[in-house]
Assembly symmetry: C2
Homo-oligomer: 774 residues x 2
């Protein structure tokens, strides 16, 4: 069948609309309204077009194919490199099929505008949709050739890099140096540790170690800057990352945040430039997440104003202590006992070794041996057998012993003192959250780059095997993870701002909850993403030369250290239940119970009954819908949790039992809370941007993040009637459509992560090797 110029002018739009099969009745009505407004269409044209917009009686297979034939008859003349949008293409087709005398009527601005309005109605007015159209009509030869970015990767990278870009670039430049390469086949832990130690010293010599500290100690007075260094170091060797974190962040952080002027003067510069190697001895074999019940003691001896550091049992030995084998000194967390009174956890600087690096009397250090990963970090166990140190070694910002042997503290309440001390160390969690996302990005960069080179099975054409990224299963595995890394970036940047602000605040509860939540979310994201990328690269992903295996092994502990994720999320949930008024790190429940009883039920936000059934693509892609969905889930979970707790309280269940009964509910609430928060951060960022192709692309990432989050949890949404079954299915379709839009820009999306090629060292993505596997 031959179509009239009028029909041809909108055929590309019709084709894409039906090809994706997600047009709803209300969209159909909108299409009809727009068609009415297009000049140049005859009555016959309109009637024919209207006949195709009846969803109950959709175009037949023959009709559909005749569209395709009509469109394809014009495509040979289209220069794919100079890609036209759907409107231009339609008008060109209309002109070509018009008589010479009528051709000019298609030049009228009103014609363009009205067809553009139709395109807009269908949400197809962006470069990504145009590319997906080209893929749809000519899958055999177009998909692969489109690797021109729909956006500018350097502008995109600038958005992701954020305000600390200079420091990040400086860090990258340093570790790109040959000096920081580690051969893949160097697996001996002792040799690795020596190498990492050297490298860590080199970082320190460049001033990267002291960055947090005041200028007078050789620093830049910038804790936020240190987190940016940490974030960037995660692009390189992860043992170096952790060594850096242990020496400067943990050991340095303890001296800086828990010590006073005298300690700063004596140690900060030395440790910041790694003249003094130290470790952070908090965790014990018997106590990891439960810091408050550590067993190591520091007992005050009035006679000579000293402290005796002692590990009473085998299980009270300090465990997994990074830098334990290289350190001269440890910041030991222990129960401070003065005159038989226990004043709770304090940190004391305890020398471990003499100048010849021999263990001092009473100190026993044992190597933790090989670990799943991070074998360049010297983790060990440390026991103290009545080791005496002068009382000056007490890091005394929050507790001191005067000349008369009397303990005093600026914070009277021992509980509050403990929380304040832990709060001073929040930078660790902030850093791990940031580093986790970097590791996830690097693995995605490798897996996506490989999937754009690797072919397997002839499915799309008879000539070439198909690029594995053209398989929908592969897209479904990787693209939501790319989107998560994107969106997470903005939340992590917000956290860094909050962290910087909090340095001036006494009350750090908000940033503590935030860091705990984001550390959990980001570290699981890294674990899951790297695993998926490893599998997505098949056997190649298993070889050490392709980096994913070490990325996996090195980051696996991120979900555990700086606090086990399950434990941290329960603390986050308690914060939410008490409107962030409870002390963070408080394991107790009575304060919660009081809050929960006070909490009124009316806060419950009702869902919109109409929205549950709205399956329009425009609605599903709208940030307002995402925000509503993510907020609703958090608030409903909070409401139902409070409600269950109140019921248990009424049954006189004791608070501990209540918490056991509701533990999984709490973890679910905390994850919903943090996911909503992440989305809001991204959305706020986006709303501040001017329109641009980069903004469009970010919007796509955010849409995938939100829809994937909702879809993954659709069980909950359906249970709670927030979605109905049709809407849930429509989300699945819209997601698949989004993935097709990502596909032509996949390389650009990961390139904008800004990981230098020399650091993304995997053999499989090197150009020379690519040829061999193509």
């Amino acid at each position: 069948m031959k179509y009239s110029p009028g029909v041809l002018s909108v055929l590309p739009i019709f084709y894409v609309g039906w090809a994706d099969s997600v047009l709803s009745p209300s969209e159909m009505q909108l299409i009809r309204n727009q068609i009415q407004k297009i000049p140049n269409l005859s009555v016959d044209d309109k009637n024919l077009l209207f006949s195709w917009t009846d969803q109950k009686n959709p175009p037949s297979a023959e009709t559909f194919e005749s569209w395709l034939v009509a469109i394809k008859s014009y495509t040979p003349e289209i220069n794919i490199e100079k890609r036209k949008n759907l409107v231009q293409l339609g008008i060109e087709m209309a002109q070509k099929s018009s008589s010479a005398s009528e051709r000019h009527i298609w030049d009228a601005p009103l014609v363009h505008q009205s067809i553009e309005a139709l395109e807009h109605t269908l949400g197809l007015d962006n470069s990504l949709s145009q590319q997906s159209f080209y893929n749809a009509i000519a899958p055999d030869n177009v998909v692969e050739t489109i690797e021109k970015a729909g956006f500018d990767t350097s502008k995109m990278q600038a958005m992701l890099d954020g305000p600390l870009v200079d420091l990040k670039n400086r860090t990258k430049k340093l570790i790109m140096d040959e000096f920081f390469r580690i051969p893949t086949d160097l697996r001996d832990k002792d040799l690795l540790r020596l190498k990492i130690l050297e490298q860590c010293k080199a970082l320190a010599e460049q001033g990267f170690g002291a960055h947090t500290f005041p200028e007078v100690y050789g620093g830049k007075n910038s804790p936020a800057g240190s987190t940016a260094i940490f974030e960037t170091l995660a692009m390189g060797n992860l043992s170096l990352l952790i060594k850096y974190g242990v020496q400067f962040g943990l050991f340095g952080g303890a001296v800086y945040s828990l010590g006073t002027e005298k300690h700063h003067q004596k140690y900060l510069e030395a440790l910041g430039y790694m003249k003094l190697a130290g470790c952070f001895a908090m965790t014990e074999t018997g106590h990891g997440s439960n810091v408050r019940d550590l067993e190591t003691t520091a007992t005050y001896n009035a006679s000579n104003r000293s402290l005796t550091i002692h590990s009473p049992t085998l299980a009270s030995g300090k465990e997994y202590i990074g830098n334990a084998l290289h350190s001269k000194m440890a910041a030991v967390f222990c129960q401070l006992i003065v005159n038989n009174e226990n004043h709770g956890i304090h940190a004391v600087l305890v020398p471990l070794r003499n100048e010849n690096h021999e263990e001092l009397p009473g100190v026993t250090v044992k190597d933790n041996g090989y670990k799943m990963g991070l074998n360049g970090v010297d983790n060990g166990r440390i026991w103290f057998d009545n080791v005496e140190v002068p009382v000056e070694n007490l890091l005394n910002k929050y507790g001191d012993i005067n000349e008369d042997g009397v303990y005093s503290s600026p914070i009277e309440n021992p509980s509050k003192r403990f929380f304040t001390m832990l709060g001073a160390l929040v930078g660790g969690r902030v850093s791990v959250a940031l580093g986790s996302n970097t590791a996830a990005k690097k693995s995605l960069d490798i897996a996506i780059s490989y999937a754009l080179k690797r072919r397997q099975f002839k499915t799309l054409s008879e000539e070439n095997e198909t690029l594995i990224l053209d398989y929908p299963t592969h897209q479904e595995r990787l693209f939501p993870l790319v989107a998560k890394s994107y969106v997470l970036t903005f939340a992590l940047e917000r956290m860094r701002e909050k962290f910087e602000e909090s340095l001036q605040l006494d009350d750090k509860r908000e940033v503590e909850a935030l860091a705990a939540g984001l550390k959990s979310y980001a570290s699981w994201h890294a674990t899951h993403t790297i695993q998926e990328c490893r599998e997505a690269c098949g056997g190649k992903g298993y070889l050490a030369e392709n980096e994913l295996s070490d990325l996996k092994a090195d980051t696996d502990i991120f979900t555990t250290f700086e606090g086990d994720n399950h434990v941290l999320l329960q603390l986050v949930a308690k914060s939410i239940l008490t409107d962030f008024k409870q002390e963070f790190n408080d394991g107790g429940y009575s304060a919660i119970v009081r809050h929960v009883l006070k909490r009124v039920s009316s806060e419950y936000v009702d869902r919109n009954p109409f929205s549950a059934r709205n399956t329009d693509a425009a609605h599903l892609l709208n940030a307002e819908f995402h925000l509503q969905a993510l907020r609703y889930r958090e608030q409903k979970l909070l409401f139902s949790l409070s409600d269950r707790m109140r019921n248990f309280i009424k049954k006189r269940m004791n608070p501990n039992d209540i918490f056991l009964r509701t533990q999984t509910h709490m973890v679910t609430l905390a994850m919903a809370h943090i996911e909503r928060y992440i989305f809001e951060c991204s959305n706020d960022f986006l709303n501040k941007q001017k329109d641009s192709p980069e903004k469009k692309a970010l919007e796509l990432m955010q849409q995938i993040f939100a829809l994937d989050a909702i879809y993954r949890d659709r069980g909950w949404y359906l249970e709670n009637d927030f979605l109905n079954g049709d809407k849930s299915k429509a989300i699945r379709k819209v997601l698949a459509k989004c993935y097709r839009q990502v596909r032509p820009n996949a390389q650009s999306f990961v390139k904008a992560f800004g990981i230098p090629e020399v650091l993304r060292n995997a053999e499989i993505v090197k150009p020379s090797v690519s040829k061999a596997i193509a």
Copy 2:
């Protein structure tokens, strides 16, 4: 308030019923009916009990507490070690509160029977429920002390071990020998490989290598036995496992299954006793999953009746070949070309090295280097540069070249020939599926045993910190995985039977689909389980000495090798779509399209509209419900997939595009299919057992498996109105209840996996160390 003897007699049952809060209105009605039948109850008693069975007006908090007080007032006299069931307990309370003259009326059998009927109505008539009752009324001190198994672990182990128990025990006994220990800190790949080579030879010398082969070649003529050896070896070092699989299963399997008498006579005994080390050179750098398009060629030279083996490109080198560095010979898969005609993939035995272990001319072997794990296996790449071998080296069961240089095959159709050859190698997938589950079991044994020693935070009592297995989040993480390993065992045993039967069949399509599906399911189960166990053991799980890190690293490739899971599942889906009539391993689509068009829509099984709302615990725990749910999902997915495909066919979409569009749907269908199959195998096994505590415990495992599968996929079930929201929530509650029943038997459940302590070598579960961490 003081209760009458009549009320006391049923109070334990009431308490448990309400404590779990899952009583539905229909259950309430059943309770009323049962109460009517109990003698000895006065009218007042009945009225009071009825007043407590009105779900709209449930017992007040005060009432609930008064029950607890009443029950607890009797518990001091109850000997917990000699635990009574709820009926006995109620009657004992009734007797104690009766006057001496009336005490005897509680001895009447009818009284017992009627109260037992009430207990039965609530599904509480089993030892597991009784234990959970004791936990409920006295959580402070009872939970931990109950570690007496509710079942006999050796009887349970016998059920899991199945018919090949003797061979399994023999294998265990051998690898328990000191000779098979490998020090944790041995990480150098070259030293590891030597050690594993020695160990593999020792296995061979004991006859474990030749097990598959006929007696005349020193074997037992038992391929199924070989899979049991493989399954059991997975309890020990996994590099040895894979070395064993490569040498005897892959290399040996190729010679045995693709070769003929002359090859058997020449090689089988030598390779089975590892006098001849060989490798299986199938995968190429450029072709992993797509075996059909391998590039290596074997070209026939008529002049001297030889074959020239050649790798035309860098990417056609054989990749990841296990045993590549130790082998003298390789079974090379290549395109066989005779007189310029390509007869498709065949295997040829190609000598790699001379007696001095030097590479022969034209052979290049390159070490694959370090891998994520399995560093005791020497994987390498192999290229052939015009290597000539006599034509006798062609493994000629399915294709031969006669003296006149004419190719012939017992299978005319080249495509069918290819499928038949691959089908002959199905034992590899069977073995990997079995080994995966063993590895998962071992990690669960470690994580659960640790969780029964490790304490953290004082939540249950003020004296001791709580065992981490008493945390519901911990139960929720580990118990469904234990259940999966249990249920999977019976499906894998069934697969082994089918495999043995298939050895006599020409048509192996059924067992191929089964092995592909179960290999995918089991290997993902292992990957996921070991990861969860690693995290559940915190920092300890990260240390090499605790085995989980190596378990993780060594098994991670199981999802990839013997066929990538995503690819295999698509083959499974194609099999289902064609009623297993399509050739397995066929990547083409036209046959499918034909089948799909023939398939009638009426096969669609309707759901039961009443069932969607039934939230009775008894219904939710019933195997009929589980079967219905799992079957419904599979059939609905099959129906909707066929339907979508038909629609695309009507739109004249080409078959390749159709498959891309429906690829994720196919993977989902295949997983649903295999999960239903697994459940049925377990259920069939269970139905054959006589009543016993072990059967009860297996039932619990099966219930958790099914409910967890349904609950994880509740999004789909809700979308499709198979469940409503209330039912989905009820499943969550019933699952939590099931976990509480598992808890007191957790140690027994993992002990029955039968992993000898000397093989489960993790430091954290050794008794001496446990004391240190307790």
